[in-house]
């Protein structure tokens, strides 16, 4: 149970290269949920030589380090979210807008879902589809 070597405090920080940092900054700078392609375009403005593959590699790394969150709906590309705490999503059936929200009863839900499905629960995620406030006004 002894430390064999003097360990840097954040394993993560050691590996936050310029490219990864650029990708992270893009995601953190945005209120919305950009796709890999959008991130690539934006990251390029700061780091013109960054490649597409590196954006994907960086996203995988950042996801693994818990610094960003990936949102996949079957439609089109994954979107990336700076919010890493558990949360749910609402998607507008009209304009496609994607909004984060959190349902405080999520823990109960997970138990209820586990009972029904007989699965040992790990996480739950809820998706609401409907019309966003902006589209409702029109």
């Amino acid at each position: 149970m002894q430390m064999t070597r003097p360990q840097k405090n954040l394993q993560t920080e050691e590996k936050l290269t310029r490219q990864r940092d650029a990708v992270l900054k893009v995601i953190r700078a945005r209120e919305d949920h950009p796709t890999a392609n959008e991130i690539f375009q934006a990251a390029r403005e700061h780091l013109p030589t960054i490649s597409y593959a590196t954006v994907y590699n960086s996203l995988r790394f950042l996801k693994g380090a818990g610094l960003v969150h990936e949102i996949k709906f079957g439609d089109g590309a994954s979107r990336y979210d700076r919010e890493t705490d558990r949360h749910d999503h609402a998607i507008c059936n009209d304009c496609g807008k994607l909004v984060d929200f959190d349902l405080p009863q999520a823990a109960d839900l997970m138990q209820a879902a586990a009972r029904r499905s007989k699965f040992q629960p790990a996480s739950v995620h809820l998706t609401l589809r409907g019309i966003c406030p902006d589209c409702r006004k029109v």
Copy 2:
């Protein structure tokens, strides 16, 4: 408010071609949730000339007619479900098994999610991730 022409009772039935019917039968014959490719392979056995594109066209048609349900998780291909009533899904983190279940509190959930997100609700869907009973045993 008069009927101008003698209408067949099911608009849907009129258009259920051999190919579409073959696709529907494949889905209805299976307990699991096959992908388009799996459906294509199975449909071929009954209708050897059916093409890939027709499977996709048929799936779109059947979905529109409410006869099958499409399940998309970002990972890989869409899966198709003979169960068309509203329901939720559990996915095994180990083996990928996909199981249907229904949460009776879904209507309440939708309201709660609508309040949080300010969306006008249309539908909710919940996904549980965890370990399925089979994988737990091992």
